[in-house]
């Protein structure tokens, strides 16, 4: 078991490293080969040639790509020095460089955005896990009946709705028409937990509407698969009461794939619910990277993307480990 976990963690580190290489190459090579200069972006609007040269030197944009990448990695783990003649800046670890836009450390931007994304993702996750799995189980147990068909029709409708459209409709109704949630903006949990929840609730509902539909469909399918298994028939034949057959035997097996998908979804949500954050104007990781993209702020894009990928890889590892704990058959792989 310990060996399995170590192998998975090492595998995850390799994947993360690969992602960092690919992302780095993409963001530093593509503008270079296609003829746009990151230094110009950094130096501000219509900079002088001297300013561009200074920025190029300071950021080390003239160095070979391998050196640039090495410095980038070094920055993350041990920090790095930016030298431009007399003025030297030390960027402490974890250093993802400085924003081209406002010259602030990218790490500060990430830590600022992180609580927002966490609040959004975790609140929505609680909602959609409870409602989605609940509806899925109920649908499976009442297969073909009115409640099942109604729930599945609704779920198919919900997965066909773009989250930004439901978000806009939600905003229009609860925030502007009925004024139940006026002036939605992020309030830190520690400042005012009530206001925090009140301002996030519409976004939670919008995200949870989509995800609970997906989870209801998934749970139902998985539950129906399990309920058709021989051992369930055996359990019933032994005379176990139905609530024990379902609760003890079927549910455990049926929820394993649900937990797998949940781990991955949570990982990618923590990496930034881009569309929801953009629609509701929450400056979490997703919206931050969208803003960075529209301003050509490469270090911020790079930092947030790698950070987001980190969540996904971490989620992958946790899911694999969870699987190994629940189902010993997967361990050797």
């Amino acid at each position: 078991m310990a060996g399995f976990v170590i192998r998975r963690v090492l595998g995850g580190i390799v994947i993360l490293w690969l992602i960092s290489v690919i992302t780095f190459l993409l963001f530093f090579l593509v503008p270079k080969t296609l003829g746009s200069n990151p230094a110009i972006l950094f130096a501000g609007r219509s900079p002088s040639e001297a300013a561009v040269a200074a920025v190029t030197k300071k950021l080390g944009l003239d160095d070979p790509l391998v050196v640039q990448y090495w410095n980038f990695l070094k920055g993350i783990f041990v920090g790095r020095h930016y030298n431009a003649g007399p003025d030297t800046t030390y960027c402490p670890p974890p250093c993802f460089g400085y924003s081209f836009k406002n010259s602030q450390p990218v790490w500060d931007e990430i830590t600022r955005a992180l609580p927002i994304t966490f609040s959004l993702a975790l609140g929505a996750a609680v909602l959609f896990l409870v409602s989605g799995v609940g509806i899925g189980i109920l649908s499976a147990l009442r297969r073909g009946q009115l409640i099942d068909r109604a729930a599945m029709t609704l779920a198919l409708g919900a997965v066909s709705l773009p989250v930004y459209f439901t978000g806009l409709v939600m905003l229009l109704l609860v925030s502007y028409e009925w004024r139940l949630f006026p002036n939605i903006h992020y309030v830190p949990f520690l400042d005012n937990p009530l206001l925090w929840a009140r301002n996030l609730l519409p976004a939670w509902i919008v995200l949870a509407f989509l995800y609970s539909a997906m989870y209801a469909r998934l749970t139902r399918a998985s539950m129906l698969d399990v309920l058709g298994e021989d051992y369930i028939r055996t359990a019933r034949a032994k005379g176990l009461p139905e609530h024990q057959v379902v609760g003890k035997h079927a549910l455990r097996a049926a929820l394993t794939p649900v937990v797998t998908i949940f781990g991955l979804d949570l990982g990618s949500l923590l990496g930034g619910a881009v569309l929801t954050e953009t629609t509701f104007g929450f400056r979490g990781l997703g919206k931050t990277s969208i803003e960075a993209i529209s301003t050509g702020d490469l270090p911020t894009i790079l930092g947030v993307t790698i950070f987001a990928a980190g969540f996904v890889v971490l989620a992958n590892i946790l899911v694999d480990v969870f699987y190994a704990v629940v189902d010993p058959r997967v361990r050797p792989t």
Binding site: I15, V30, L156
Partner: protein
């Protein structure tokens, strides 16, 4: 020369009852189930309608006497530049109203938006089906470290913060590259990115099917006659994969429509003035939807209905091809 071992389904001996029994291939069973499925027929018809609308967009808008790009400032309220009249300026000339700020015909823009949506989704799906089928076949049939590597790659891509990555890639590509420029380049990039990130959906299905199919006798028989791996993959396995590939292709198209709309919504799709549904919603999201909700509702409903129709059709196809299903 290897001889294809696929045997045509043999006619059964005549049953005692006088009624002759028709050969019931998977396709025939599926078709007979689909024919009875009203939801499937309705969604199929709607999909066809949307495709026709997209193909004949110029004729359709000409028929309605509108164009997608022509501004109509006279139809706007001069005070706030919102459509004059109720429900976003709906009138006999502009059946879905006009756009705020510039008065362009919403009907024409939605119809033209269908072109972008379907074109990108269809081409991207084609790309991912080709890639996914090839990778799934190789990963499943060849196995070994190559197969394992491809399988891990698919897991990785499926679990990736796709949207973020896709946006970032689109963003770093400048206005002209690879000898292309403007919206041609952007369409090309959209297709490539969406296709590249969604092939693992197909790949994983194909791989799973191949893993179980390759143990079957007909594959062993083909191998026995001296067929090489490529011949087995293409001539023996592929024909058996057409049904699942068809089903998941139908389910991938709506996913890709949503993907394209999301990219356009985030401002990395085709550039205005070319109409796209996501871009219309983005324009509406920028404060306009509070004053003129119709302008948000029309493209939103267009996305919803199109995606829903494809989803319903895909679900129906899956049920129809399900060997465990009744009927």
């Amino acid at each position: 020369m290897a001889v294809p071992v696929m045997v045509e389904p043999t006619e059964r001996p005549p049953s005692p009852s006088a009624r002759p029994v028709a050969g019931r291939s998977l396709w025939r069973i599926a078709w007979s189930r689909l024919r009875k499925d009203k939801v499937a027929l309705a969604s199929g018809a709607f999909v066809l309608l949307v495709v026709l609308v997209a193909v004949f967009a110029p004729a359709l808008t000409a028929l309605a006497g509108t164009t997608p790009d022509e501004p109509n400032y006279d139809l706007l309220n001069p005070i706030n530049a919102m459509p004059a009249g109720s429900f976003g300026g709906i009138s006999a000339d502009h059946i879905l109203g006009v756009e705020p700020l510039n008065g362009r015909d919403v009907f024409a823009r939605v119809v033209y938006g269908a072109r972008i949506s379907l074109l990108v989704a269809a081409l991207a799906t084609l790309l991912s089906v080709v890639l996914g089928t090839a990778m799934g076949l190789i990963s499943g049939y060849v196995g070994g470290w190559i197969g394992g590597l491809i399988a891990r790659l698919m897991d990785l891509l499926l679990a990736f913060p796709l949207l973020l990555f896709a946006i970032a890639i689109v963003a770093v590509i400048p206005d002209s590259a690879f000898g292309l420029g403007g919206n041609t380049l952007r369409l090309f990039i959209l297709v490539f990115i969406i296709g590249f990130f969604s092939w693992p959906y197909i790949g994983r299905i194909v791989r799973g099917q191949v893993l179980s199919l390759k143990e079957k006798d007909f594959v062993a028989a083909a191998r026995g006659t001296g067929a090489g791996p490529i011949r087995i993959m293409v001539h023996e396995l592929l024909p058996n994969l057409v049904a699942p590939i068809l089903v998941y292709t139908t389910l991938l198209i709506p996913t890709n429509i949503l993907f394209e709309a999301a990219l356009s919504y985030l401002g990395v799709g085709v550039r205005p003035p070319t109409a796209s549904w996501g871009d219309m919603l983005a324009t509406a999201a920028d404060g306009l939807f509070r004053v003129d909700p119709m302008f948000m509702i029309v493209p939103g409903v267009a996305i919803f209905l199109t995606v829903l129709a494809f989803n319903l059709l895909g679900d129906a196809l899956r049920d129809a091809f399900d060997p465990r299903g009744g009927g």
